[in-house]
Subunit: 476 residues, 2 copies
Amino acid sequence: MAKVTPRSEDYARWYTDVVQMADLADYAPVRGCMVIKPYGYSLWENIRNSLDWRFKATGHVNAYFPLFIPMSFLEKEAEHVEGFAPELAVVTVGGGKKLEEPLVVRPTSETVIGHMYAKWIQSYRDLPLLINQWANVVRWEMRTRLFLRTMEFLWQEGHTAHATAAEALEETLRILDIYAEVAIEEAAIPVIKGRKSESEKFAGAVTSYTIEAMMGDRRALQAGTSHFLGQNFAQAFDITFLDQNNESQYVWTTSWGMSTRMVGAVIMAHGDDQGLRLPPRLAPIQVVVVPIWRDEGQRATALEAAAQVQAALEPEVRLKVDDRDGLSPGWKFNDWEMRGVPLRVEIGPRDVAQGQVVLARRDKPGREGKSSVPMSGLANAVREMLMTIQADMYRQALAFREAHTRYVDDFEGLREAVADGFAYAWWCGSPACEAKVKEETSATIRCVPLEQEQGAGTCVVCGERAEERAVFSRAY
Amino acid sequence: MAKVTPRSEDYARWYTDVVQMADLADYAPVRGCMVIKPYGYSLWENIRNSLDWRFKATGHVNAYFPLFIPMSFLEKEAEHVEGFAPELAVVTVGGGKKLEEPLVVRPTSETVIGHMYAKWIQSYRDLPLLINQWANVVRWEMRTRLFLRTMEFLWQEGHTAHATAAEALEETLRILDIYAEVAIEEAAIPVIKGRKSESEKFAGAVTSYTIEAMMGDRRALQAGTSHFLGQNFAQAFDITFLDQNNESQYVWTTSWGMSTRMVGAVIMAHGDDQGLRLPPRLAPIQVVVVPIWRDEGQRATALEAAAQVQAALEPEVRLKVDDRDGLSPGWKFNDWEMRGVPLRVEIGPRDVAQGQVVLARRDKPGREGKSSVPMSGLANAVREMLMTIQADMYRQALAFREAHTRYVDDFEGLREAVADGFAYAWWCGSPACEAKVKEETSATIRCVPLEQEQGAGTCVVCGERAEERAVFSRAY
């Protein structure tokens, strides 16, 4: 059985190997596009569901806006068009004819949604308007990588309108909390919630917030963003409402998104040299049952025991029985390890005789992750084990991040820290200091964390007074 | 409160009024595109879920293929490109540069999926391959109508590959059964399962199957199609496998789709002059609770009773309490009738005093649809009532179809029948006879029903021997 390139040898190749050998995605015929294979799509469906119910529980509703946006719409918000113009795919021919106005394939939908909101919103009674959309978007990227950066990707994009700045800001941070909760609780990935610097914010936003995670190569990945758009889009698209005093006001808007990039985050936060490792809450298959036999008699007994395990665990547990003929147990073990299934149930002839099965954890290789469990208490044992694996995977990712995070107080310290992982460093807030760090270390400000210690310090670049620490890191 | 145009006055305007006044969809800024509003999208989500679990229960998995297809791919299957070329939207500019090969925005995905299947399928062990995708597609339509025919629409498209023709045909018909089941059981719409004529089949198919429904204006609507593609796409894209004798064979493929058009079918199969009528199984809101009060004291009591109803029915029932101030009960009744909510619970001061509520059915206007139910047995009563409404709506739609369906044996009979609805008429199978009917009556062959009476007859057009009756009708 083919093996993935070890991470220490070539992390980028390791990543591509895992994506392909674990059957998550494949390259599409059009450069920069991907095909999400069934196993990868199922992982995305689980991420999607974990977001969708949280959005609905906080009062949001889903809708669908069009793929094509008139080019003129993008030009209405100056920063927005400047940011997105170089990345656009443009339809110029439709139904065999050249179009009078070219249509942009949406890179994001603030403009077309702004246009509709201007029509739908009349009075304060129409606010807040809390809409989310599940959609594909296209950005013409030159350097692409499966899931992490592809020309077309799937995401959700939320777009809300509010009567006051305070409400819009509260919404922006509520969503940031949902993103952090999904990353932590579902994906078992620790994240830092923070504010983007001016140079890294969304084109058209007043303030962008982000969750940042550390990948296995100690680089940062932006896993979700939530933007406070102020009245920028309201003014560009004339989205106004009559307030309670019957006066016309611009609304305040937000937008926020999480994408199939999150699949890449799961791969890189947890994967190892055996392949993928999936957190139980997101795993398409949580438990694989491998019956083991040497002859036909044992085969029947083992399959019967496997069916009992299946009956005991389904439908609460997402389970697969691997009853394939002609493949050795060892080959099957490797195969499911590659695909990151969190828990394996082995049923050999001796286990059947003793009325037990062997549980083997994906997150703890070898003897340490193995235990025997009597068939009678299996359902409870598996349920608890899956919760333990989920918690342990989070703890392990957190310990890894902490081991590669330093608080630094001067430029040399920063340089050393970003060569190894994350650096928390005082920053005066100036774009010049930010640029200098990038130039000299290729690290960028991932965010200014919302959680800050008391007091102030001196900027690690210029030595001026600094109110906040920023997190610097090399990033995807 | 604004009213919809009566159906008898102008059915097309009635339809557009309902779509807009029931808040289902709106026109997008790009001609021919639509915005699916939250209420309409929620209806689509319910249709989507009702299909998705059935696909999964029959062994299908979801995946995602790219939006952009190289123009050259479409040209590989001659009939396919001929059928779709006039409807294509073409991207010619990406990232600010003119593209060497134009990219087609997918009108359907047989070609790009065929390309991937050629790569993925090696041996008989890889078959059958049963994949579905939820996606948007674009067809450059000149005459568009919300949900029924839009430039961009949402759908699912299934694409399967099999070792034998028999298995592929079995799959094609299995899916047709699922479509019919969703139409009948979920949407309460009777459908005729049948085969498309050569002139109406999918471009590239060997045989297309369809479910056809009768709308409120007695015209037919194709609500879902399932295609047996033979080896057409396998040959065009070189999708081969090694069979058990180690010989290379072309696979046999199918494709099938149901789209947001189904929302239009629900509107037109059930709607009346008060607006939308939704079958309970698909309704975003199944029960609306309207507390009624004249003064503050009554208000508190009514709201308390409404909360009790809510507690008794949720989460099994999708429910909304309409506690809006400043709107009369009558206005609210009309509003929810417009939106097609199947069941209304009215709670007035006298009801509270008597420990009961009034149930009012959307499908039976006036006194006939009203009944008083004691609070104590409410949950059971509502559950049963929703099932009754679902069944009655189906019965009503079926009775309507039967009242406007005739078996005819000559051309004059056909002409009269299609002016009123569906005509079952003997057809010899010749395209010339089919064309003549279309020319003289503007009715087309909707399908040749799978269920046929024994024996043969004579073609209503040419008088030659005919083996089958076809259903003729004017259609959307």
